[in-house]
Amino acid sequence: MTDQTSGAAPGTPRPRSPHYVNREPWDPYVSERLTAEQEKYYMAGQWKLMWWRFRRHRPAVVSAAFLLLMYFSTLISEFIAPYDLHTRHSAYIFAPPQRVHVMHEGQFLGPFVYALKTTRDMETLQRVYTPDTTKPMQIRFFCKGDTYEFWNLFEWDFHFFCQPEGGQLFLLGTDRLGRDMFSRIVYAARISLTIGIFGIALSFALALVLGGLAGYYGGWVDSVVQRITEIIKSFPHLPLWLALSAALPVTWSPLLVYFGITIILALLDWPGLGRAVRSKLLSLREEDYAAAAQMMGAKPGRIIGRHLLPGFMSHLIASATLSIPSMILAETALSFLGLGLRPPITSWGVLLNEATDINVVAVNWWLMFPVVPVIGVILAYQFMGDGMRDAADPYG
C-alpha cells in the first residue's frame, strides 16, 4: 500500500515520500471507463430497456403504429365516416364501390367520382349501376353531412369528407339496404377493436387472481384451479362459445349482449394466462426476497402484487397481447354465425353476417370487404405481440 491509499492518521507527521504522487483525485473506474452510451444503457430501467429493444423490431413498430391509428379512428368514427351508420339510400341498393379519379379528360380535377346511373337489367330485374363518365363530381372535404351526436356531448355535422353536391359517394359500395359499407366498416371498428381490449382485461384479471391464488397457496387451491383450467382448455372453445352466447336472453338490450359476449370470451380465455401466472409464482415464491417479505409480516396480497408480479409482468402483458387477436376473431366468428352481437350494434362480424349467402356475395363481392380490416388487425397484433415478447426479456 502506498501513502495515498492508506491515508495519514491525524496528528502524526510522516516523512515525505521521495517518489512521485499524483495529486488528482483517484477514480476507481479508471480501467473501465464507460462511454456516455454505455452509461445510459447500464443506468436505464427495465421498461426503458424493453422500449429500446422493441424499437429495433421493425415490423412490430409499424404494426403498433397501425394499431394506434386504428384505435384513434374509433374515437372519431363519426368524423371519418361520410355517412351515419344507419343512413339508407333506397335508390342505391347493392351499389358497387365507386372508383375515385383525379383526372377528367386530361384535366386535373382533384379527387372526384363519376355520378352513378341506375338502369334495370330487364332479364334478371337487378339494378345495374354504371358510372356516368360525362359527369365528374368532386368529393368535398371538411364539409357538412349527416348530423351525429359527438361523444354524446353535442350535435355536429362536420365530416372529413362527404358525398359530392347532388351525388353519392360509396367508396366500398352499399349493402342490401343501401347503407354505405365504408361508413359501416369505420363504425364497426369501434366494437370489434374494443371487445378484444375489454375481453383481455377481464381475462387478465381472472388469470391474475386465480392463477395467483393457485401458485401462491399451492395445495388444494392449486389442484382445484388446475382441474378447472384443464377442463376448459381441453374442451373445444367454439361450440362452448356458441352454447354460452345462445344462452344470452333475446330480450337483452344490444349493449348488455355486448358485455355478455365480452364476459363469455374472457371466461374461456383466462386458463392460458392463469397457467403462466401459476407456474411463475410457484418458482418465484421460493426466492429469498419473497421469504424475507413474508418474515417481515407482509400479507400475501402485498407479496404477490408488490414483490412477485412485477418480476414477470412484462411477459404477461406480451402474452396477453398475443391473445387479443383470438378474442377479436372469436367475436367475429360468433357474430358471423348470428349468435354474437346483434344489430343495431355493428361489428365486423355483424357486417360479415350479410356475406353468409354465397350467391349474394358472388354478385355483390364488396360485401366481403370487412374481411380486410379483420385480417389486417390480426396480423398487426401478431407482429406487435411477437416484438413485445422478444422485448419482454431485455436482459436475455
Binding site: 344462452a247 376473431l329 366468428a333 379483420v374
Partner: protein, 332 residues
C-alpha cells in the same frame, strides 16, 4: 403402465359427466323453450289451437318436468343409445345424428392426418434448409395460415371457387349419393369433397406445427452429438432420422391435446360456412332453436371425441417417455 391407463380412463368419466351437466344446463338457461318459437309461429298464423298444441308438445317433450329430471332422463338414455326426442320434428335424436357423426369423425381424422404429414415434411425441410428460399416460403405460408382465420379463408375460397371456377364447394358428396347406402363410389366422392375443408380447417394447425417442429429440430441440430455423428461419417439422412428427429418429433404426439380442440372448433365453423353435412350446422341450428336434447348430444359428442383424443395422446406419450409413465408429470 396398466395402472396408469386405468387411472386415466377412470378420470375421463367424471370429466364427461361434469361437461354433460354443464352444457345441458347452459343450453336450457335462456327463458322459454323450443316450443315457444313454434307456438309463436302458430299464433301468428292465427291458429286457434295454438295454445292447446303447445301443451301437447310440452307433454311430448316432458318440458313440464324440472330441469334436473330431464337431464337425468337424457343421461340415462345415453347408455341405451337413446338421446331423447329432437324438438324440431319430433324424431329421436339418434336417427338424426348417425351419418353426421360419422362424417365428422372422418373429416376430423383426415384433418389431423393432413396436419401431421404436411407439417412433418415442410417442418423438416425448413429446419434442414434454414435461411434458404424454401425456409422463407414455408415461414411465410405458416404466417398466413396463423393469421387468416379459417372461416374467412373458407368464405374466400367459396367465393373464388364460385366466381372463377364455377364450382360449388359446399356439401361432402355428389348429390346422387345423398341418403344412399355406403358404396365405393360414395367413398370416393366424399374423399374428393373433403379436400377443401380439410385444407381450410388444417391450415392454422399446420402452421403452428411447422413452427414448433422447425424450432425444435433447429435446437437439436446444433447439439454436439450431431457434430460427432457428422464427424464419424454418418450419411446425413440417416443421422437426421436416427437422432435429432426423434427428439424433435415429440410435439406431434404431445400437442394433440391442444390440436384437437382447435380442429374441432375449426370444423364446426368451417362446416357452417361450407354447409357440410357434419355436426356443425345442425349444432348451430339446435342452439338457435333451443333444441336442448339435440344440441347437448352434439356437444357431449364433441367433448367425448376430445377427451378420447387426449387419452390417446397421453397414452402414446407415456409409451414414448418413461418419465411420464412413472408418475412424474410432463412439463410443457
Amino acid at each position: 403402465m396398466l395402472l396408469f391407463v386405468i387411472r386415466r380412463i377412470l378420470l375421463m368419466i367424471p370429466t364427461l359427466f361434469i361437461i354433460s351437466a354443464l352444457v345441458y344446463f347452459i343450453i336450457d338457461l335462456p327463458p322459454g323453450d323450443c316450443v315457444t318459437s313454434q307456438v309463436d309461429e302458430l299464433l301468428a298464423r292465427g291458429d286457434p289451437d295454438a295454445l292447446r298444441r303447445a301443451d301437447e308438445l310440452r307433454a311430448i317433450y316432458n318440458l313440464n318436468d324440472p330441469l334436473w329430471l330431464r337431464y337425468l332422463e337424457w343421461v340415462g338414455g345415453i347408455f341405451r343409445w337413446d338421446f331423447g326426442l329432437s324438438c324440431q320434428d319430433t324424431v329421436p335424436v339418434s336417427s338424426l345424428i348417425g351419418e353426421r357423426l360419422a362424417l365428422t369423425i372422418v373429416m376430423e381424422s383426415a384433418t389431423i392426418v393432413f396436419i401431421w404429414t404436411v407439417s412433418f415434411v415442410i417442418g423438416v425441410y425448413a429446419a434442414t434448409h434454414q435461411y434458404r428460399v424454401g425456409d422463407y416460403v414455408a415461414s411465410f405460408i405458416g404466417f398466413i395460415g396463423l393469421a387468416v382465420p379459417n372461416f374467412l379463408l373458407a368464405l374466400v375460397l367459396l367465393y373464388v371457387g364460385k366466381v372463377y371456377f364455377g364450382l360449388s364447394i359446399g356439401g361432402l358428396m355428389d348429390p346422387e349419393y345423398i341418403d344412399k347406402p355406403m358404396s365405393w363410389g360414395k367413398a370416393v366422392s366424399v374423399m374428393q369433397h373433403l379436400i377443401i375443408p380439410v385444407i381450410v380447417i388444417g391450415m392454422s394447425g399446420t402452421a403452428g406445427m411447422i413452427r414448433r417442429l422447425r424450432a425444435n429440430l433447429l435446437d437439436e441440430l446444433q447439439k454436439q452429438y450431431v457434430t460427432t455423428g457428422r464427424a464419424k461419417g454418418l450419411p446425413p439422412m440417416r443421422l437426421l432420422i436416427k437422432y435429432p428427429l426423434r427428439h424433435a418429433i415429440n410435439p406431434f404426439v404431445a400437442d394433440i391435446g391442444g390440436l384437437l380442440p382447435d380442429v374441432i372448433s375449426g370444423s364446426v365453423i368451417v362446416s357452417v360456412v361450407l354447409s357440410l353435412p357434419t355436426t356443425g350446422p345442425m349444432l348451430l341450428g339446435a342452439l338457435k332453436t333451443q333444441d336442448v336434447n339435440l344440441a347437448a348430444t352434439f356437444l357431449l359428442f364433441v367433448a367425448t371425441l376430445t377427451v378420447i383424443g387426449m387419452l390417446i395422446s397421453d397414452l402414446a406419450l407415456a409409451a414414448l417417455d418413461p418419465r411420464i409413465r412413472f408418475g412424474a408429470t410432463s412439463e410443457k
